[in-house]
Symmetry: C2
Subunit: 315 residues, 2 copies
């Protein structure tokens, strides 16, 4: 049985690369399986250990994740690395369990309107689904970690502003359903750092010994500021994608997740050691550029590099 504390020790910040899943939701051209595997291996060499690698969804609808099992295997082959895969239904759960993936991700909308529009079910039904997922996990041999992300937790593309109390109620429901981790997701980059900090602080309090992760999008340029506020509020697990790859089907013009390499710089600048080498991480962008030449990559670190540490460095 995998214990959540083993792969998410509470005493340090853990940054998760979600570009292989969230980053590929909307791209025009999909990277080859071999390129995904190089992406994982090269980031692993740079120090990254947590990878969301795809979804167990019908390959007809989501062909970019047809090879999710292969990428799960790649991650599993790297000592200390930890793979995550998204599921939406019971068939997916069973496939995910069979793949041996270390963590299964699920999702729940913060608002009833978005839940109905996006998943064609109530939030109640979504929580029942997550509970069933946890039961299947308990009955499985390797008992992966299960997480539930609350999408639109800081503002909804359909309902507009979201009441934080409602989100915190859902955080409690998810833990009651048996998940190990709950995610606060600003899916459409709706909020600023005050909102993110306040909600994170309250969620971390509810979580107790269980875990909260924070999943931010840089839609309105607030990504890094929001990540900083989440860290100040006690979050220790944050998602990002290399080059800010990705978009959001619910927000035209939206960029993807917060830029992973800038997130590393942020954490290090705040005194949180990430174990990640920024220069080596930036170099991995070449895989994305070669495989998805039509996608815009973002980020300050890739543009400017690490600041000079001494007179000699700048000479």
């Amino acid at each position: 049985m995998t214990r959540v504390q083993d792969i998410y020790p509470k005493d340090r910040v853990i940054l998760r690369e979600v570009g292989l899943r969230d980053g590929l939701q909307l791209v025009k051209k999909f990277p080859s399986t071999a390129a995904k595997q190089r992406w994982v291996r090269d980031e692993y060499a740079a120090g990254v250990r947590h990878f969301e690698v795809g979804s167990f969804l019908p390959a007809k609808t989501f062909p970019q994740f047809a090879d999710v099992g292969d990428v799960v295997q790649t991650v599993a082959s790297l000592p200390g690395a930890h793979g995550i895969a998204l599921v939406l239904n019971e068939r997916g759960v069973n496939e995910a369990l069979a793949s041996g993936v270390a963590e299964i991700a699920s999702v729940l909308s913060a608002t009833e309107q978005h839940s109905q529009a996006n998943a064609n079910r109530s939030r109640e039904a979504a929580i029942a689904n997550i509970k069933r997922l946890c039961e299947l996990r308990d009955a499985s041999a390797h008992k992966p970690v299960v997480n539930a992300a609350i999408s639109m937790a800081l503002g909804c593309s359909i309902a507009g502003p979201v009441d934080p109390k409602e989100v915190l109620r859902l955080v409690e429901k998810c833990f009651e359903a048996g998940v190990d981790m709950v995610g606060i997701a600003d899916t459409v980059g709706y909020a600023g750092p005050k909102q993110v900090g306040d909600l994170t602080k309250a969620a971390v309090r509810i979580a107790g010994s269980k875990a909260i992760f924070v999943h931010l999008h840089d839609t309105r340029g607030m990504g890094i500021a929001n990540a900083s506020a989440a860290l100040d509020a006690g979050a220790r697990i944050l998602d990002g994608s290399l080059g800010g790859l990705g978009g959001c089907p619910f927000a035209p013009g939206a960029t993807g997740n917060v830029v992973f390499e800038d997130l590393v710089f942020l954490c290090e600048s705040k005194g949180f050691a990430t174990g990640i080498d920024i220069d080596r991480l930036i170099a991995v962008r070449s895989i994305l550029r070669a495989e998805m030449p039509g996608e815009q990559l973002y980020g300050g670190m890739a543009r400017a590099g690490l600041p000079s540490r001494s007179a000699a460095a700048a000479a």
Copy 2:
């Protein structure tokens, strides 16, 4: 006599558009005087009141600021608007005083190495220069506000890391020299929010009833996070440039100032009313695009727009 409290009331956040000066330091093509005047007028209509409009420097070396007097006049013609112009030497001070500009900006390097390399003088000599500027201001008819920005205050392109104690010593020296406001400038986007917050907090304490402004660059993607930290630390005057226009001669690949429109969203999201209409502000980017088609503009708000406030808005 202009009192600093009149144009920078302490009870609210003031955002200053510095794109017409800092944003134009390195652009390949300069906007026409008429375009600069439209830029000012349109931002004024959007609610902006503080504009750094150029430098009183030799027009041979800085042809982009040859028309600074005209833009000073444009700002002066708008009720409640407030123009700022940079000077580097006594000739410039006299021209600035003659122009009637409301505020004169001066600059001082945080490190001895940068001061010598950039201005060919010691920091001591730079402070003497600022003192002389304040004396000329005192002897003038309209007595403009005088500010001094400490460049490289959070890290230096030549010397590397900068001791905050050294910066705070310079803050004190500048106030002793007679300036009304001191600026903390992260000229090359060196630092993260912790460094910016800590230094700002200490500088605000030193300033007392005088003012501190914070001038940030988005070089490494930390601009908005750093602005958020500066606000948390008590800063109430922040600089930005529309579209993040500009670069830095000391940091290849660096972007310009923190994106003005994203800065507005940040402040509003934190509960600080700026009086600025983001949609109208974003529309002003069309002037920059038309006049400087080769320059990259940045920013999340321009990409995604304001978040929907209601179900109706997103329908």
